[in-house]
């Protein structure tokens, strides 16, 4: 079976975002960008399924600027077989991304879509669920463990109270949580090989999807800054302080 893995190029996990002083957004100029960490987990899971003989082909797809091809090359270097880049310089909202992905699914006919549960830039946590809705497929969100069979996938999900296991008929959408796996690093030979793997370039218009934004961001501001308090010398001082502020 084919697995489709949507990935997003986002600010690197280790970079502290800075809000622009004019309130127009977060400053991404000269900031290190990487694959969304949850999407790395998705790529890894797809590769493991392929290595286990349960999938034949992994297609990585990204909707974003031309530079998102670097992110796709990373996915290819990890082990994806080919890539589709849907190029746009506009910021594309999850609903429009889901619509584009739905069109790609129609063309490619994967049995499984695995994507990150949320992107660490807009923190929306929507795309996978929306895609499942648009396709009329089952959804296994926040996956901790997956078990793929020929006509179903069993997903153990991380929920607020613990873990929930659901069984989805294929085709289905799975979104990944942190504990699903630990993504591999691409080796140098694989990075070289990835340069030769096929990457198609498309635009949202090729899929007939209107990406006009439904949400307008009118301002982006810094959150209230918390001031550091004081350090105490020892446990006795800590206890005294906790009592003084009525904490205990």
């Amino acid at each position: 079976m084919k697995i489709l893995v949507p990935v997003k190029r986002v600010i690197d996990y280790n970079v502290k975002p800075r809000v622009k002083s004019d309130g127009s957004g977060v400053d991404l100029a000269n900031v290190k960008m990487s694959m969304n960490p949850f999407d790395e987990i998705s790529v890894e899971e797809a590769i493991r399924l392929k290595e286990a003989g349960k999938a034949e082909e992994i297609i990585a797809v990204s909707v974003g600027p031309q530079k998102a091809q670097e992110t796709l090359r990373t996915a290819l270097a990890m082990g994806a077989d080919r890539a589709i880049l849907v190029v746009t310089d506009e910021e594309v909202e999850p609903l429009a991304v889901a619509k584009i992905l739905a069109k790609i699914v129609e063309e490619e006919q994967p049995q499984l879509v695995i994507t990150g549960k949320q992107a660490i830039d807009d923190d929306s946590n929507q795309t996978g669920q929306m895609l499942a809705a648009l396709l009329g497929w089952g959804q296994g969100t926040f996956a901790n463990t997956v078990e793929l069979d020929s006509d179903s996938i069993t997903v153990k999900r991380e929920i607020d109270g613990g873990l929930q296991t659901v069984k989805l008929n294929l085709p289905a959408v799975v979104t990944t949580d942190l504990r699903l796996n630990e993504p591999r690093y691409a080796s140098l030979p694989n990075i070289m090989k990835a340069k030769k793997k096929p990457m198609d370039e498309k635009t949202p218009a090729d899929y007939g999807v209107d990406i006009a934004k439904r949400l307008t961001t009118t301002n982006v501001s810094e959150p209230p800054v918390r001031q550091a308090g004081e350090k105490v010398e020892d446990v006795d001082a800590l206890v005294a302080k906790l009592k003084a502020v009525g904490a205990i």
Binding site: P94, I120, D123, A132, D160, Q164, S221, V235, V239
Partner: protein, 309 residues
Amino acid sequence: MKTLVLVEHDNKTMKDATLAVVTAASQLGEVHALVLGSGCAAVGEQVAKVAGVSTVHVADDAALEHQLAENAAPLIASLMESHDAFLAPATTTGKNIAPRVAALLDVMQISDILSVESEDTFTRPIYAGNAIATVTSSDAKKVITVRGTAFDKAATEGGSASIEGVTGAGESGLSTFVSEEIAKSERPELTSAKIIVSGGRALGSAEKFEEVITPLADKLGAGIGASRAAVDAGYVPNDYQVGQTGKIVAPEVYIAIGISGAIQHLAGMKDSKIIVAINKDEDAPIFQVADIGLVADLFNAVPELTEKV
């Protein structure tokens, strides 16, 4: 504006997460609540008493016992024909269902709102809470998830809403519930605990976590949390995780033990009223947000603290 609030519950009891959503919804207009479940009549009665709720819709159906999104979303979407905004708590249940509803309605969801500025404008955190965006929705209907710590809880008494049955749910045939492993604990839930004792990677093992963190939490009647590193290392289960992608908490007191304070962790707890940090590394970022810091070896300091509080 007529709103529809998704009630968080376990078929027996309404969860507190619902109450913040009611408050957010009441800032938009008339509040209707929706209980999806099986054998959940008692929940409907609890919700009817919540101040500010005017109508409770109860969909009591075997297909909704586990609130699978595939079964829940079409029903909610049909109810949205007569409502203007759907609001769900930003819990794993709400996050699972709401985007599916939004897509069915062709609406762009507004996730994790912190405030209601007007009928169509909201604030929400982005970049792990390192920035706050003000967004205006042009969609005719709104689909929203609500951050529980950002809104006061509506009173659980004082309301007298009418209760109406909803039918029309059914099995989608797309998914089935298999099993659930829900931690049973006498401890307060993380999202409603007044005090949280939270442990990090520095604990070193599941045994040490239990040995050091648990007695302090017991003594304080506190909930127990953890950093991602501690969860990844297997010291505690996933439902303990506090942070950008785990639970967002804002207790009266948050005691961070052996947690360095990565931005992803801070995103989940920096709205706590008082933050206490105990860490061996005096340069740990956690001290930049802590009201009270103690630079010490946690294996000595925490047992001593447990004894003296």
